[in-house]
């Protein structure tokens, strides 16, 4: 059992389970699945300043969601320690590996390329842009767009919201630009 759970969970198991979170949260407390709202709650809780967008009762509207992401951190820890992947390399497709090799990535172990995601690479341009720049854009873009992958791509599209479709198209425009234009320049 543990051996089976340690393998990569197939999409047809993981996807429906993620999809079930939407009705589960609605049924339990009428809550809408969306992770990036927590970044706003965290800003509102720490340095709201005089900013109108951060002046609201974050405890009342967000404590459930902040608790939820605390759970995500714990879940990440549990899965990595109790159900570690049996091989060092998770096994993305050969095609993807070949393309990433042409970018100079050689280490396919773990969940992130160790060559880029390490503390000393923060001082390099690619490392800084990918970790610090990428993080900044995720935070800025998610709030500007009013949601991230969970809020728009899953909750929004499932509710057939046209704005969410546009946002998801935007996600892919940005992602494809990075993949095919920026990364070849950076790496």
């Amino acid at each position: 059992m543990i051996e089976m759970l340690s393998q990569t969970w197939p999409w047809y198991v993981a996807g429906p389970l993620i999809g079930l979170l939407v009705p589960l949260l609605l049924l339990i407390g009428g809550k809408q699945f969306g992770i990036s709202a927590n970044l706003r709650h965290m800003c509102a809780a720490t340095i709201p300043g005089q900013i109108e967008f951060l002046q609201y009762d974050w405890k009342k509207s967000g404590i459930w969601n902040l608790t939820f992401v605390a759970g995500v951190i714990i879940g990440g820890f549990l899965a990595a320690t109790l159900l570690p992947h049996p091989e060092a390399v998770i096994g993305i497709s050969e095609g993807a590996m070949a393309e990433l090799r042409t970018l100079g990535i050689t280490d396919f172990t773990g969940l992130l390329p160790a060559e880029i995601f390490n503390w000393s690479s923060l001082a390099t341009l690619p490392g800084f842009l990918m970790i610090v720049g990428g993080g900044f854009l995720v935070g800025f873009g998610a709030r500007y767009a009013g949601g991230c992958t969970s809020g728009h791509a899953i909750s929004g599209l499932a509710d057939m919201q046209f704005p969410s479709l546009v946002a998801v198209i935007g996600f892919f425009i940005g992602g494809l630009f990075v993949t095919y234009v920026l990364l070849p320049l950076l790496l």
Binding site: L5, S6, T8, W11, G15, L17, L20, V22, L24, L26, I28, G29, G30, L39, I51, L54, I63, W64, N65, T67, F68, V72, I73, I74, G76, L83, I92, S93, L111, L112, L122, M130, I131, G133, G134, L137, V138, G139, F140, G141, Y144, C148, S150, H152, A153, I154, L157, A158, D159, F162, P163, G170, F171, I173, G174, G175, F177, V178, T179, L182
Partner: protein, 163 residues
């Protein structure tokens, strides 16, 4: 002739206020557990992996599309059932889903593209960022801090940005 014409008496008793539910510590435990469940799925399906995100943007595997697509299908079917049968929360409250306001639409195009740039650079969106931190990648704390700066910067610039 039936003598049971009496209507079932309506219970007019006030149920304990459910709006308080979300801020009661006991009520929060369930969200912690669901979050843990989500975190485990993110790790074991490898949605949180930079490699998987690159594989997706390079259209080299169905894995990510299968996950997002089937998640949407299950969520959509559930929402239809909830709406059609006017399903209430377990606490008996009506369920309403806030529609996204279109406005001028700029926010979805520009915000979406900016988010997509960040998603592919970092290889993680917000949920996976939290799960990665738990899974033993403390470097992602830097990205999380930066994402908070980004959120703050948006909040600050919001009155000047087209929406």
């Amino acid at each position: 002739m039936s003598t049971t014409t009496q209507q079932p008496t309506q219970t007019t008793q006030q149920a304990p206020s459910e709006s308080e539910f979300s801020i009661r510590p006991g009520g929060l435990l369930i969200y912690l557990l669901i979050g843990m469940f989500f975190g485990i799925i993110l790790v074991k399906s490898e949605v949180l992996s930079w490699f998987r995100i690159q594989e997706m943007f390079r259209f080299e595997s169905f894995h990510m599309y299968g996950i997002i697509g089937s998640a949407i299908a299950v969520a959509a079917a559930s929402i239809q059932i909830i709406k059609r049968f006017d399903v209430k929360t377990f606490g008996g409250e009506p369920i309403s889903i806030n529609p996204k306001v279109w406005g001028e639409g700029y926010r979805y195009w520009i915000g979406g593209i900016l988010f997509g740039l960040g998603w592919a650079l970092l290889g993680a969106c917000p949920g996976p960022m939290f799960a990665l931190i738990g899974a033993g990648y403390p470097i992602i704390l830097v990205a999380l801090f930066s994402a908070l700066l980004g959120t703050w910067a948006y909040s600050y610039l919001r009155p000047k940005l087209p929406h």
